[in-house]
Amino acid sequence: MTTDALNVKEKDIVVPGESLAVGMGFLPSWGTYRDGDSIRASRLGLVQMDGKVIKLVPLSGAYLPRMGDVIIGLVIDVLMSGWRVDTFSPYSAVLTLAEATSEFIPKKADLTKYFDIGDVIMTKVTNVTSQNLVDVSMKGPGLRKLGPGRTLVVDPHRVPRVIGKNGSMVSMIKDHTGCNILVGQNGVVWLSGEPENEVITVQAIERICAESHISGLTEKMQRWLEQNAKHVNRSRPQEPMQ
């Protein structure tokens, strides 16, 4: 009879193979595996304990589309009856005519009138198969083609930090820079405003991603924005809706 022992604590960073706990009293969950008596990390991550259950929160890695995710994608091809969309993951998605618009599209219509190659779209993942074939849809609030603006790709694991609790971080940046900002679950950020304000927005977002592990980041970013965005005219233009 071995005694149970925990080798790590909440929020420890662990590497693949590292022993997290010994004994049958602990239960392996996401990102961990049982190896005899031990529970080991099966990837690089942050330890999260839930009673006796040990799981990891990933710190890095590619975005994989999940059903229900709202992402920002890029139209990369026009198909027979739909479009191919780059999801900034290893797998591209298909947007079918039926999911693209509620309008009636006649046969042999020029599909580029609706979406053209190079268009940036806010879209929703509606299906992911076992082979990672992905369907996306434009049906839903806020899903649309995005107008002039620039995109920025950040680590998808930093997305919750960029958005902040109930969107607090992103609204704070919007308020200080006057830019419209949209964040996709896939780590693609779209922003639009005056060029010099967009630059400040990009710098702010890059800063959040680089320092995402710091506690008190919101206050720190508040001070940074007050310093760097003090000349910005805060009257934000109305977001164009389609």
């Binding site: 190079g118 268009d119 002039p148 603006g149 620039r150 060029p195 010099e196 630059v199 990009v202 710098q203």
Partner: protein
């Protein structure tokens, strides 16, 4: 097209996607002596672009038509490690052009006095091989590569050489430097719409209409040129691009330390 229009909106206001002015380089950093298996080496950082250059020396038989001259060779590897857009395999057009631009800058400015590389006329000369390898490609590879090549040449020391045995001891470096006569600096000026800029980001390179690489030496004279891109340039444009390159070369020369 929309992305390019958005970029032009920036350029019209005199700024870039990262907030720089049009004629502003990113931070440049040169580190010497980074590979002790090379006779000379350097790492050049230009913003996020990172390039390593190594110089290898060898003793060879000269070419018949230049019996009293050493050999000079520049090769570039756009390693697949440095960008998701580069693939393993033989050099691409981009890589070959890059190497040839760097080569011409050094050769045509006579930066290396090839006569001084002669050991015994018609029999033995030093050959200088400059290898450029990209570590992280984030725009403006040409200028970074040329700067790195020059830095590695400055860093190079001859290995010990026994003439009798015709053998090089690569384990033993002498303190004799290469015959470096001048410092050729390449500055590439890019044209996007009606705007001229230097040290582009990858997005800017993708949106560019044309570019002109101007290699100059310290007195401001031009040693080599290379136009790239498929948009034509007017003579006036060429003239202002050369002017900008001469100005910017002064800054790069300082960065060499």
């Amino acid at each position: 097209m929309e992305q390019k229009n958005h970029m032009l909106k920036y350029l019209q206001k005199g700024i870039r996607f990262d907030g720089r002015k049009l004629d502003q380089y990113r931070l440049i950093n040169v580190e010497y002596g980074v590979s002790n298996s090379a006779e000379g080496s350097a790492i050049v950082n230009v913003g996020d672009t990172k390039i390593i250059v190594g110089v290898k020396l060898a003793v060879e038989k000269p070419f018949l038509d230049t019996a009293d001259c050493g050999n000079l060779m520049v090769n570039a590897e756009l390693t697949p490690m440095s960008s998701p857009d580069f693939e393993p395999g033989p050099p691409t057009e981009t890589g070959i052009e890059l190497a040839r631009i760097v080569d011409r800058g050094i050769r045509e400015s006579h930066a290396i006095d090839v006569h001084k590389l002669c050991i015994k006329e018609g029999e033995k000369v030093w050959s200088v091989a400059i290898d450029v390898c990209t570590l992280n490609a984030a725009g403006n590879l040409i200028d970074a590569a040329a700067l790195g090549a020059l830095a590695a040449l400055k860093d190079a020391r001859y290995p010990a050489y026994d003439l009798e045995k015709n053998a090089i001891d690569y384990g033993e470096k002498t303190d004799k430097k290469l015959p470096l006569e001048c410092q050729p600096i390449a500055v590439t000026v890019w044209k996007i719409g009606d705007y001229l800029l230097v040290d582009p980001l990858p997005q800017e390179e993708n949106a560019a209409d044309a570019r002109l690489t101007v290699t100059t030496i310290a007195d401001g004279s031009v040693a080599s040129l290379q136009k790239g891109g498929d948009c034509p340039l007017s003579v006036e444009e060429v003239d202002s691009m050369v002017g900008l390159a001469i100005e910017k070369a002064k800054e790069l020369r300082k960065a060499l330390g």
